[in-house]
């Protein structure tokens, strides 16, 4: 094809919803076709962008280095990421950063099925950068907004007077694949935003 494939948008999602997203799919039989993670609120994600606090890093590799990083979001939920020899830049960041640190991560969602049938969701980072608290706060608000948009679309589409023909295909896919209470994700949004307000309140308090 002459046209360059369109670059996949990096979705904004809190760790709570991300870790619930255990279903992946492809949209064509092509071996190199992109793999999508289906978010419970009804959106496909081939890439994510997240900002949070890097809490722990550990080399979990056997023969060669394989770095795990854990990034926590305002709700206390964690994103897990793994970087090895094929992600040298991200791996060296995980090797060098001293937790705790605010980091922003661009990466691809990956799922892994454990021996007892559980599906673990993680991020394979394309880039990891150390950032400041303001960038992290901005991400929290942005992710809250994007999540609310998805929830609103999901609720409209699955409500009683929804027009079935107009329902977004990923919303119906999510409704079919998952049996998850969408209200939980709205609660995560509210709590994440409230945590920003609490920070402000703490910052505004005079030194005791």
């Amino acid at each position: 094809m002459a046209t360059t494939p369109t670059r996949e948008v990096a979705r904004r999602v809190f760790a709570g919803e991300f870790n619930d997203a255990t279903y992946t799919f492809k949209e064509s039989d092509d071996e190199r076709a992109p793999v999508y993670l289906l978010l419970p609120t009804g959106e496909r994600a081939n890439r994510v962008f997240l900002v949070g606090t890097l809490m722990e890093t550990e080399d979990v590799g056997d023969d060669s280095e394989y770095w795990q990083g854990q990034v926590i979001d305002p709700n206390g939920d964690r994103f897990y990421m793994y970087a090895g020899q094929y992600q040298p830049d991200a791996a060296s960041m995980l090797r060098e950063l001293e937790p705790p640190a605010y980091v922003s991560v661009v990466g691809k969602p990956r799922t892994y099925e454990t021996d007892d049938g559980e599906v673990n969701v993680s991020v394979r980072p394309e880039s990891i950068t150390e950032v400041d608290a303001a960038t992290r706060d901005r991400w929290v608000v942005e992710t809250a907004e994007r999540t609310l948009d998805r929830i609103a679309r999901y609720t409209d589409a699955t409500g009683e007077d929804a027009d079935e023909a107009a329902v977004d295909e990923y919303v119906s896919m999510a409704a079919e694949e998952y049996d998850l209470p969408i209200a939980d994700y709205r609660r995560q949004v509210v709590e994440a935003l409230e945590s920003l307000e609490d920070e402000e309140a703490v910052a505004a308090e005079p030194d005791a």
Binding site: R7, V9, A144
Partner: protein, 311 residues
């Protein structure tokens, strides 16, 4: 000036180096054809031009664009280099010329947007004033890094007009997180051949083969707001102002490391994963960055929280 006189002046300027003629001579010929023989002005002009071409033993294509044969264009229509056009607009900005070869340089705008113009010293043209409106006939379009400009030349006719123009803005503003700095960013080398400027791959130009490249700085980035991606392009100036790394410093960094890729690596470490708003014109799928602003504190947490609670 009458229309005949204007046309005569333009024709005269095309031949004054080759032929001993005066503007009056040209006007007289035009006048005969138009007023005595009722020939339409455009035909009269063509005929007179052909006569002088014969006299001078010149071919038509030796004339810069041939004057009246030009398309009259607006700024936003300029989408290819090396076209001879007529264009009307206001001089919105005059910049400092950084070379003796350049008499004046700045921005020229009409309702559809603005475009850079360059006036060469050797063309010996009258001075343009900021804020004045001109009709420029016989200018040549040019392109560099996806940005178009017009160049005035010796055959250009400048006519100041007594009118006002509402200069349009063709810029777009996009914001998001910088999620990628693509290959071909940082310290690059361009083909030095005239009008080429292609980026070299391993010292080779696609068009001219192995050449001694000229260093340049740029960033090809991707801004992503979670709903849309925008490809953005920083030229040398925009790259320097965003990164604080000058072309000279970038060359030193590359020399120390014996590798040009260290420059892009440093830029990635510094810029990726942060939020920016960029403004500039678009070219193909790129936004060409004129202005960049780093975004930090969220502005609307309160409003989003109210919305979240109300669902």
């Amino acid at each position: 000036m009458t229309d005949l006189r204007t046309q005569a002046t333009e024709i005269h300027e095309q031949f004054e180096d080759q032929l001993e003629i005066s503007v009056d001579d040209v006007e007289e010929r035009l006048d005969t054809l138009v007023n005595e023989y009722k020939v339409p002005l455009s035909e009269a002009r063509r005929s007179v031009t052909n006569t002088y071409l014969d006299e001078a033993g010149m071919e038509r294509d030796e004339l810069g664009g041939g004057g009246s044969g030009n398309d009259r264009v607006q700024v936003a229509d300029v989408d290819a280099p090396e076209e001879w056009v007529d264009i009307k607009g206001e001089v919105t900005e005059l910049w400092e010329a950084n070379s003796d070869a350049v008499a004046q340089v700045g921005l020229f705008g009409d309702e559809t947007g603005t475009i850079k113009f360059t006036k060469w010293s050797k063309s010996d043209l009258p001075e343009l004033e900021e804020g004045a409106v001109y009709d420029l006939r016989n200018v040549v379009t040019d392109e560099y890094e996806g940005r178009f400009s017009v160049k005035l030349n010796r055959t250009t006719v400048i006519e100041e007009l007594d009118e006002e123009i509402e200069v349009g803005d063709d810029d777009v503003s996009v914001e998001g997180a910088l999620v990628d700095i693509q290959s071909g960013s940082g310290l690059i080398k361009r083909c030095p051949k005239e009008d080429c400027t292609r980026v070299l791959q391993n010292g080779r130009c696609n068009e001219h083969g192995e050449v001694e490249g000229e260093f340049d700085l740029r960033i090809k980035g991707v801004l992503d707001d979670g709903e849309e991606v925008h490809e953005i392009l920083f030229n040398q100036e925009a790259t320097e102002s965003l990164t604080g790394i000058t072309l000279e410093e970038a060359q030193e960094m590359a020399m120390d490391a014996l590798d040009t890729s260290v420059v892009a690596d440093e830029m990635r470490a510094d810029l990726l994963g942060k939020y920016y708003r960029v403004t500039g014109p678009t070219f193909r799928r790129y936004v060409l960055v004129d202005e960049v602003e780093r975004l930090a504190e969220p502005t609307d947490a309160e409003a989003v929280l109210i919305k979240a609670r109300s669902i």
